[in-house]
């Protein structure tokens, strides 16, 4: 635990009835880190994100963010503290235009600076390449555009830490590079990023640290090149 630890997860456990989704998860993420989180489907990655962000309540363990204990805080309170996430399956506000979709976190996260909201909306849309569709509805978007909107909305909350949950699934090579450069750019601006992905090329390129989750347990946490050579990791996930 160093002075610039931003996110501290300790002993986190979550069950659904008899099913243990997460067991004893410990994870520290430092300011401005680029962390990759990988694991087979059903290993609990999204559950972990949901517990960290407050969408689900974990029964055991705790989460600290910027020194503050998050347990008991609702999801919107955690967002206001600077912890944002994008959803694996995009969840846009379907009756609001793209610009309005971004306006919501700007209005409610309490974190955007002095820049006027409309200007910030357009700036974010420009960054993700959706500026020309600002008054369209989400249903008019393609898959990748939805993913970009999802990321843009998380960015609109002006987070200190952004969790990107499988933002690249099903996208083409070029589209993956698109999103990747977006996240790298974000990180260079000072945002800590946790990238959850299956696309190993992207994960390896992006991560400075790699965490592996299998069947609700963390089995590896460290330098990416070493982690991918770890026999347990190869057996459980990569070797398939």
């Amino acid at each position: 635990m160093t002075a610039d630890t931003l996110l501290e997860v300790s002993g986190l456990g979550k069950r659904f009835g008899g099913f243990v989704a997460l067991e004893s998860i410990g994870l520290n993420v430092a300011e401005k880190e680029r962390v990759g989180l990988i694991g087979p489907n059903g290993s609990g990655k999204s559950t972990l994100v949901n517990c960290m962000c407050g969408t689900l309540r974990n029964e055991m363990g705790s989460v600290r963010f910027a020194g503050q204990v998050l347990d008991g805080l609702s999801a919107h309170e955690r967002t206001r503290l600077g912890l944002a996430r994008s959803f694996q399956l995009p969840r846009p506000f379907n009756t609001l235009s793209l610009a309005d979709n971004l306006r919501v976190p700007l209005l409610y996260s309490g974190r955007h600076g002095s820049q006027p909201i409309d200007a910030r909306c357009m700036e974010l849309l420009r960054v993700v390449g959706l500026a020309d569709k600002s008054d369209r509805l989400p249903r008019d978007l393609t898959q990748i555009e939805m993913r970009k909107l999802e990321l843009a909305r998380a960015m609109a909350a002006d987070p200190r830490l952004l969790i990107a949950d499988e933002a690249m699934a099903g996208l083409s090579h070029a589209e993956v590079d698109d999103i990747l450069s977006l996240l790298i750019q974000l990180n260079e601006q000072g945002v800590t990023v946790i990238l959850i992905e299956h696309i190993m090329r992207a994960v390896m390129h992006f991560s400075r640290r790699l965490v592996v989750l299998v069947a609700g347990r963390k089995i590896a946490d460290g330098d990416p090149t070493e982690v991918v050579r770890d026999p347990d990791v190869v057996r459980a996930y990569l070797g398939e």
């Binding site: 609702s74 967002t79 506000f93 379907n94 309005d100 919501v104 976190p105 409610y108 909305r153």
Partner: protein
Amino acid sequence: MNGAKFVLLLLLTGAAGFGAAWLIGNAYLFFAGYVVLQYIALATAWNILGGYTGYVNFGTAAFFALGAYTTVVLHKLTTLPVPMMMLVGGLVSGIVGLGTGYLTLRLRGAFFSIATLALAVVVQTLITNWNFVGGSRGAYIVRPPTVPLLGIDYIQYLFLVMLVLVVIVLATARTIERSRLGYGFATIRDDEIAAEASGVPTLRLKLLATTISGAFMGMAGAPLPYYVTYLDPASGFSLAYAVNGVAMPLVGGTSSWLGPVIGAILLGTLQQVATVTISSALNLLIVGLMLVAFVIVAPNGILGLLQGMRERLRWHLAGRSRV
């Protein structure tokens, strides 16, 4: 158009309506007009919760009747001007709305809706068993001997009071729509989990919507005892309020303040006219059928249909201009 101009426009429209009815001189116009205004208030109040946040209240009758029976209680204890009664009625219904919400809004919307259905039954049972307000035999309310405003009769006075309430409710609904709060409500309706993740305090906003909606319903019900002069649970909790509260916004369109107004004027006038010719049960049956028909065929109500026509017209014209 900003808020103040909107209010002015509404007041002018209302004044024009009042003036027209005055000139025509038929007292029935004021009786019927009161009922239509009451439904505009009720439908708009419902829509602030149902249309904006997506949480469906089936207990409109309970909130409405609580306002009416608060007046009955106050009337037996003291003398207060009708607007004061409305404030108290609004307070009571608002608190009940807050309470119901507090107990159920942490869960999915269906549970809130079920709770409002059950609430309607319970409140009716409690009032029916409460002898102070007359129980099942009902209560007689004597109108005050003098009208607070000069030159008009009591029904015309109630008409004006309800008109002012309608202006307040519509102005509130419109203001909410265009404000930060309106965005928050819309996200609750669209995707509550994403809303929370975006920083929207969903529970707080839902409670706010439930309280405002309930309060306005209570205010709409408060003058009723003076209008009917005899109030019993059967009429206070009439099925008419239960179905109209839901049908009018859904038929008119839930996406803006204008929808419930259209629905209330359309269905309200229809029912006022029909009551003369057909039985009230048949009347209500028609409303119920219209509700089901619109919800299946035209989910965005009349506003949605108009919107669709406008878009098709625009398409058509755009095609034409390319020729």
